[in-house]
């Protein structure tokens, strides 16, 4: 039976693994066994040219729960340099931001931009290596189409960084990568410098459906669990082998095992697609069996059922504000999900609003607004300043880039958005978007609106596709 094209796309997109990492785990402390592995395909990102800019009299959400009214924000050398009252205007470009709002650049922890590019044709469907339930060896970044017009649309929505994941067809879908939202025609030039990779894992319906339909394992949820455990057993053996001091006793290098070893060594973060509460709890148990950490559960529609457990374990949940019903494991939606996670254990929970969608990524502020309102209707008292964390610092933490971005703090990357009004209102638009202090989008200046190669002359030869 034919379903609508959109639904097929939706379900297909959901066929992804999620990766998770332990947010409490320090990275890079352990000396690498094989430094060559990490250096492959390293970021060559360079910020665009920028001049110092002073936003005068702005209202600011700092992304950590703080808010400032009528403050000046100075950006120089691509960094957030000063936040205060009546800062000096000398030698800097001054932008009047009165009655406007500034937030950190929005970050999406779950994107398939570039791997499920637009137009969504079969030749651009590069997000799922759905040929085996364990494909830890593939890297989503190796599929990226740099000319995907969706990047620029997300930028217009204030998104300055995003994490691209493989799909969820497989138990282990492969590595995910974080990008700065500056389109370049070389993939490494978009990669967020020093950001850790993730490994996407997937629970539930997708892997068992994809492989069960082919009469192979997994075809059940218990088959899923066996698949993860077998892979981790191999990974532990591989990691032990790689730790041998005698190089001759080390195993032959294996790309998939490299990735799993990276997780066991705390260098690669687990992003775990998982809808149901008991499955998330089981994945936590699995992580303890093999001594790794889950960073984030993605599409965690039932996270609210185990909110305290997630807070206790220091695991983030990345959620939609209200998607549900497209599949059975997405049936128990509550709109207060994000707020319940946030407020667990005296507000120590880590809640993230994610998109998994090229439209949704452009309106994460609206999604956060809905989630906040639903939480407050459910009895919580969540401020806008606090809810801003769900789309800035919390996803930055989950992507392992909070030291560099995700909040308005002195010294951090100047990834910021100037909004025409309060970003929790549907009428507000991202007016200026800065990435590392450089103006990357300006709604009032067509020369500062990216146009991909794809957009050039594609409808009329003498004009470009309007974004």
């Amino acid at each position: 039976m034919k379903k609508t094209a959109l639904l097929s796309l939706l379900l297909f997109t959901f066929i992804g693994c999620s990766e998770s990492f332990d947010v409490d785990l320090p990275f890079g402390e352990k000396e690498s066994i094989n430094p060559g592995i990490e250096n492959a395909f390293a970021s060559t990102y360079k910020p665009m040219q920028s001049e110092p800019v002073l936003f005068k009299s702005a209202n600011i959400y700092d992304g950590l729960g703080g808010e400032y009214f009528n403050y000046d924000l100075l950006i120089s050398d691509g960094k957030i340099s000063e936040l205060g009252k009546s800062l000096s205007e000398e030698g800097v470009l001054v932008v009047d931001a009165s009655n406007k709002w500034i937030t950190p650049g929005i970050i999406d922890i779950h994107s398939h931009m570039g791997v499920y590019s637009a137009p969504g044709v079969s030749t651009s469907s590069d997000g799922n290596e759905a040929t085996s339930p364990v494909t830890a060896e593939v890297w989503a970044e190796h599929s990226l189409w740099t000319q995907d017009p969706q990047f620029a649309l997300a930028l217009k929505g204030g998104v300055t960084s995003f994490h691209v994941l493989p799909g969820s067809a497989n138990l282990f879908g492969g590595r995910g990568t974080t990008f700065k939202n500056i389109s370049q025609n070389i993939i490494q030039a978009m990669k967020f410098p020093d950001a850790p990779h993730s490994l996407k894992m997937a629970c539930g319906e997708n892997p068992k459906r994809v492989y069960g339909n082919r009469k192979q394992s997994p075809s059940t949820r218990m088959g899923n669990m066996a698949g993860y455990r077998n892979a981790w057993i191999d990974a532990v053996e591989y990691t032990d082998g790689m730790n041998e001091t005698d190089p001759d006793r080390r195993p032959t290098r294996d790309l998939g095992m490299d990735t799993l070893m990276g997780v066991l060594n705390g260098e690669i973060l687990i992003q775990n697609h998982c809808y149901r509460a008991e499955e998330m709890a089981m994945m936590i148990e699995l992580s303890k069996e093999f001594n790794y950490k889950v960073t984030t559960f993605h599409h965690a529609v039932e996270a609210y059922k185990i909110a305290d457990l997630l807070a206790d374990e220091g695991i983030c949940a990345a959620m939609w504000a209200d998607w549900w019903g497209f599949k059975h494991e997405a049936y128990d939606m509550v709109q207060a999900n994000i707020a319940i996670i946030d407020q667990a254990r005296n507000g120590t929970g880590c809640a993230i609003v994610h998109s998994d969608d090229a439209v949704g990524i452009q309106h994460l502020n609206q999604e956060a607004s809905k989630a906040m309102a639903a939480g407050n209707r459910a009895g919580y008292d969540i401020s806008k300043a606090h809810a801003m964390r769900w789309i800035t610092s919390n996803p930055a933490k989950a992507a392992g880039i909070l030291d560099q971005t995700g909040s308005i703090e002195i010294g951090k990357d100047a990834d910021v958005v100037l909004w025409t009004g309060n970003p929790f209102s549907i009428y507000s638009r991202a007016e200026k978007v800065l990435v590392d202090g450089a103006l990357a989008f300006d709604m009032n200046d067509p020369t500062v609106q990216p146009i991909t190669d794809f957009d050039l002359g594609i409808i009329q030869p003498q004009t470009n596709r309007a974004q």
Partner: protein, 413 residues
């Protein structure tokens, strides 16, 4: 069956149980295109019996003070799966497709008033909806019906009020699609002069394996002005659709129309209403290269009647977020309100709904804030004069999991 279909075609149930209610001092967006003003609304039985200030009320009237809260007509989804799809990925919960029927496939008898999708959308302000068949490889999918979302087993709605189809890429050449559509419409034209039994034996009907239901339905589109709702995006396809409208005098409604700005003059002249998803600015296919957030503005400024769909299955209420984004990108506020209420009622002949005025049926929503802000939520939802519960499975789950009692969740109820 004859009796059944007649009574269900359009039922105005008079609820003796409904109270007389005065909604006092709300900011009324009447849905008629005029700007909102503070007014009282009197509801007697299932009918709006007074709109204005200082209305005379009887002693037993229940007065609800609103202190300026916004009021709109109940929202009407023009294109949904409400009541006919419970879980998209589970075929056993879907009733939106037919293996046998095509143009004449009616989803009416599949409607499940107990679907969990109904209370969720109702509690979010959607009081009625048109449910339509799912997309199929055949260019015409079948007939949609209008349903009130009060959840009663005594289903209230209008049966088979529009035919749905598509024109564009996806299954074979669009040239073939246009040719098939023309052949089908030609068959429909014959219904006024030729018995259906004879048409069934014509080679085209046999070739397409048409059933009598298909032929009768096609006849209604060509001969009786049944709305023909065609999804199309590419600019030149929109022109092809308008040519079909001209040739067959169709009561055409276009869906999606992402490249409409390129043919805005022709669309305007044709007076064709549209259903759009204002948030879909993704060039999802090579048919949609002109996709843009300003679609609503361009259509609105051309005076075209606009309604809203949403890509989000199960969340048809999100047409509020869609229309809010359209307003943020230049559409007029009141056109946005109309697009979710009176325009749907007018285009699909839903009778006296969709506008808050004396004599209309009382489908009314009172909001806790600006209805175009997605963070806003209904305070009161009224269908046919009856105040509805705002409970849903979702609200029950929320209560259960915000209840801090120390016992297994199964005992929290």
């Amino acid at each position: 069956m004859k009796h059944f279909s007649i009574t269900l075609f359009l039922i105005f149930t008079f609820h003796l149980s409904a109270e007389t209610i005065l909604l006092k001092g709300g900011l009324v967006h009447a849905g008629n295109g005029s700007s909102a003003k503070i007014q009282d609304i009197l509801i007697t039985g299932n009918i709006i019996s007074g709109v204005g200030q200082n209305l005379t009320i009887a002693g037993n009237t229940r007065v609800i003070e609103l202190n300026g809260l916004p009021i709109t007509p109940g929202l009407i989804s023009p294109m949904s799966n409400l009541g006919i799809v419970e879980i998209n990925a589970l075929d056993v919960t879907r009733d939106d497709e037919s293996d046998l029927l095509k143009a004449g496939f009616s989803i009416f008898n599949a409607f499940n008033p107990h679907s969990t999708v109904i209370p969720w959308n109702r509690s979010n302000g959607v009081t009625s909806a048109i449910s339509s068949p799912g997309e199929s490889s055949f260019p015409i999918f079948g007939l949609g019906s209008h349903f009130l979302l009060d959840g009663n087993l005594e289903i209230k709605g209008s049966r088979d009020i529009a035919m749905f189809g598509r024109l564009g890429s996806s299954y074979g050449s669009r040239a073939e699609t246009i040719s098939i559509l023309e052949s089908l419409l030609d068959i429909g034209a014959k219904v006024s002069t030729t018995p259906v039994e004879e048409i069934l034996e014509m080679s085209l009907a046999e070739k397409f394996e048409l059933q009598s239901q298909d032929i009768i339905a096609l006849g209604r589109v060509v001969n009786n002005g049944l709305p023909f709702v065609l999804e199309t995006n590419r600019a030149v396809d929109i022109l092809q659709a308008l040519a079909l409208k001209e040739k067959y005098s169709l009561n055409l409604v276009l869906v999606s129309v992402e490249e409409a700005p390129m043919v805005i003059e022709q669309l305007k002249v044709s007076k064709t209403p549209v259903i759009i998803d204002p948030m879909d600015n993704i060039p999802n296919s090579f048919d949609e290269l002109g996709s843009n957030l300003e679609l609503g503005k361009v259509l609105d400024q051309a005076g075209i009647k606009i309604m809203f769909s949403t890509q989000r299955s199960h969340n048809y209420h999100l047409m509020r977020q869609g229309s809010g984004n359209a307003v943020a990108y230049g559409m007029s506020y009141e056109s946005a309100i109309q697009g979710m209420t009176s325009t749907v009622a007018e285009v699909f002949n839903l009778g006296n709904r969709g506008i808050i005025k004396v004599g209309n049926l009382a489908d009314i929503v009172v909001w806790d804030g600006d209805p175009l802000e997605p963070a806003s939520f209904p305070k009161i939802v009224m269908i046919d004069g009856n105040i509805q519960t705002l409970a849903s499975r979702s609200s029950k789950l929320t209560e259960r999991y915000t209840n801090k009692e120390d016992k297994p969740s199964s005992y929290k109820h």
